[in-house]
């Protein structure tokens, strides 16, 4: 299979299942987003206490304003950062490769500690010894982790105000308004009472306290405080109600944001939506990227899902009157082909009838205009239509709408649109997933296992 090789190097929680530490698979699974299956990237908490990557949940909520796990109604504005999770993920990712190597390595180093030779012929013995080995290896691992932990530079936020002698009062400055307060108050202050701009300039500008060990200092306000004097924290973009905006206004909005403003209306809306997602997710991030990087992300989107996406998406955008994003034009025209044909035929028929009538009613008055009379007398309606435009304008206006209003009367046509087709189906509660609070397949699997066990006992 071609695809296997390309994804050989994809890290997955199942990597642990083959090692002596299968329990780490669950640990790793807990650090991964359920939408992208990747490690959490800027994890956000929903108001129902589920965690997703900022980008993932923003995209999912844009498509359907419900939590992807429990389907409770969610708002983008209610998302909150889950920095503890981010810290856990970063720490785990950093040490993952080493851990995996250690877990996969055959336990040669430890043979000395195990008196029974590893080459023992009895399988039972080998099992026992390897179990003991893995136990000792687990201990080794723990002590190794402890060593590493001990060697970490201590992420001491107490040292933060220290270099600045003016403020040796045990307080810290709010990263935004620079007001001084106790550390524990900072988060709440930022969430509630912070004015959003420096209230008054401090006597001394805060020093740049961060050097090489910044990465270990993961407390939110510390990291924020580094960026406070430099570029201002980007502000989240509000969502637009596109139906209220005319094309020109929307284009202007896009241009103002500094993103491409070309393409169809549908593309404009999708691009704006994507930009809001990218931008706001970046605002959530502890280490916001520069706008140029975000523009590159938008560029990638443009190539894969946006205006320059390959495949037939172009044909989709041509039919703008059909607003549904995944509209299947081929199927639509195939399905309604006979209806369209009927409409065309009936329109031609009424047109021809109207012309005939017009000719009969005013045979004498019409004679002075030879080009028209010849045109009207032709039997092909297609030819009649253009030529009749000038003499019987009234007829056109009266007849055309009539023929449009008439439903195709042909009884044999497949005019009944099949999207109204009623199929006798009901979501079976036993496998309808919508009401379960957690990834339902687990429960289904458990039920299945139970039923299987019950069924397989007699045999």
């Amino acid at each position: 299979m071609a695809a296997d090789k390309a994804f050989d190097d994809i890290a997955d929680s199942t990597d642990w299942l083959t090692t002596p530490l299968p329990g780490l698979a669950a640990v790793e699974a807990a650090l991964r987003c359920q939408i992208c299956k990747d490690f959490y990237n800027t994890p956000m908490l929903t108001s129902c206490n589920h965690t997703f990557c900022s980008m993932c949940i923003r995209r999912a909520l844009a498509a359907d304003a419900k939590c992807s796990l429990c389907r409770s109604v969610q708002e983008v504005s209610k998302l909150r950062s889950n920095w503890a999770m981010e810290e856990a993920v970063l720490a785990f990712v950093k040490t993952r490769a080493d851990l995996l190597d250690l877990a996969r390595k055959p336990p040669t180093v430890l043979t000395v500690e195990v008196p029974v030779a590893a080459t023992s012929s009895s399988p039972a013995k080998r099992l026992r010894s390897s179990a003991r080995k893995s136990k000792t290896r687990g201990a080794e691992l723990t002590s190794e982790m402890a060593r590493q932990e001990a060697s970490f530079p201590v992420p001491s936020h107490h040292s933060v105000p220290a270099p600045d002698q003016t403020y040796n009062d045990g307080l810290v400055a709010c990263p935004i308004c620079l007001e001084r307060m106790k550390e524990v108050q900072v988060d709440r202050h930022i969430d509630s009472s912070c004015p959003g701009a420096p209230r008054e300039l401090p006597t001394q500008p805060p020093k740049q306290k961060f050097t090489s060990n910044t990465s270990n200092q993961r407390n939110g306000f510390q990291v924020l405080s580094t960026s406070a004097p430099a570029p201002p924290k980007p502000e989240r973009l509000p969502t637009l109600s596109y139906s209220m905006l005319k094309d020109a206004a929307l284009r202007k909005k896009l241009a103002d944001l500094g993103i491409p403003a070309n393409g169809t209306r549908q593309i404009l809306e999708k691009r704006h939506q994507e930009w809001i997602t990218i931008w706001n997710a970046n605002c959530d991030s502890l280490h916001p990227k520069r706008k140029s990087e975000l523009l590159q992300e938008l560029e990638v989107w443009e190539k894969t899902l946006g205006a320059r996406a390959p495949t037939s998406s172009r044909s989709i955008h041509l039919g703008e009157q059909i607003k549904d994003k995944g509209f299947d034009h081929a199927a639509w025209s195939a399905k309604h082909d006979s209806s369209f044909q009927d409409l065309v035929a009936s329109a031609r028929k009424t047109r021809a009838q109207a012309l005939q009538k017009a000719n009969q009613n005013q045979p004498t008055t019409e004679t002075p205009s030879p080009p028209h009379s010849t045109g009207a007398s032709t039997t092909t309606p297609a030819a009649a239509a253009p030529s009749s435009a000038s003499p019987s304008r009234m007829d056109v206006d009266q007849q055309a709408p009539l023929s449009m209003v008439q439903p195709p009367t042909n009884p044999g046509s497949a005019a009944a649109p099949s999207y109204e087709y009623t199929t006798p189906c009901m979501p079976d509660r036993s496998y309808a997933m919508s009401e379960l609070p957690h990834p339902p397949p687990l429960e289904a699997a458990a039920a299945l296992d139970r039923s299987r066990n019950g069924a397989s006992e007699p045999s």
Partner: protein, 153 residues
């Protein structure tokens, strides 16, 4: 690499390693269309001894949007009898519609849902109006608006 590609890559590596009993990966040469075989493992007489082939097709918006999942008919791979499965392989399952889908679902969970949908079934017949539907339907499965009205099945 878009979100969908990455996510499908992860799913593929995972299901190449482990899949629940009764579900096997048949073909996944690209990230557009995969084939999986499913079996019903209990002694349900309607499905005993049979293997059914599922075809997954992933759109570019996956996993935000649901994949298209149908049974395909081949030699030794019939379309299972079920009051929610049409004889052309289209499955009427709210999980696969845009209203029932959630991006936390994946290929494995969908297979298991369908497996359990078969396991729990006792009615050996097709949906009402099957012949009519099969002969007239030209829409893609996700564009069909199923009208769910029977609570009993």
């Amino acid at each position: 690499m878009s979100l969908g590609t990455k996510r499908l890559g992860k799913e593929l590596t995972k299901i190449q390693k482990t899949l629940p009993p009764g579900i096997t990966l048949v073909k996944a040469d690209d990230l557009q269309e995969w084939l999986l075989d499913i079996q019903v493992l209990d002694q349900n007489p309607i499905y005993a001894g049979e293997t059914y082939r599922l075809k997954f097709r992933f759109g570019k918006q996956y996993p935000i949007e649901p994949p298209e999942v149908v049974f395909t008919k081949q030699e030794n791979r019939p379309i299972p009898m079920h009051p929610h499965i049409y004889s052309n392989g289209i499955i009427c399952l709210d999980l696969l519609g845009s209203s029932g889908w959630s991006p936390v679902q994946n290929v494995e969970s969908v297979c298991m849902s369908i497996q359990s949908m078969l396991t729990g079934n006792t009615k050996n017949h097709r949906p009402e109006g099957d012949a009519d539907f099969v002969s007239t339907n030209k829409a893609r499965p996700k564009d069909i608006e199923f009208y769910y009205h029977d609570n009993e099945v």
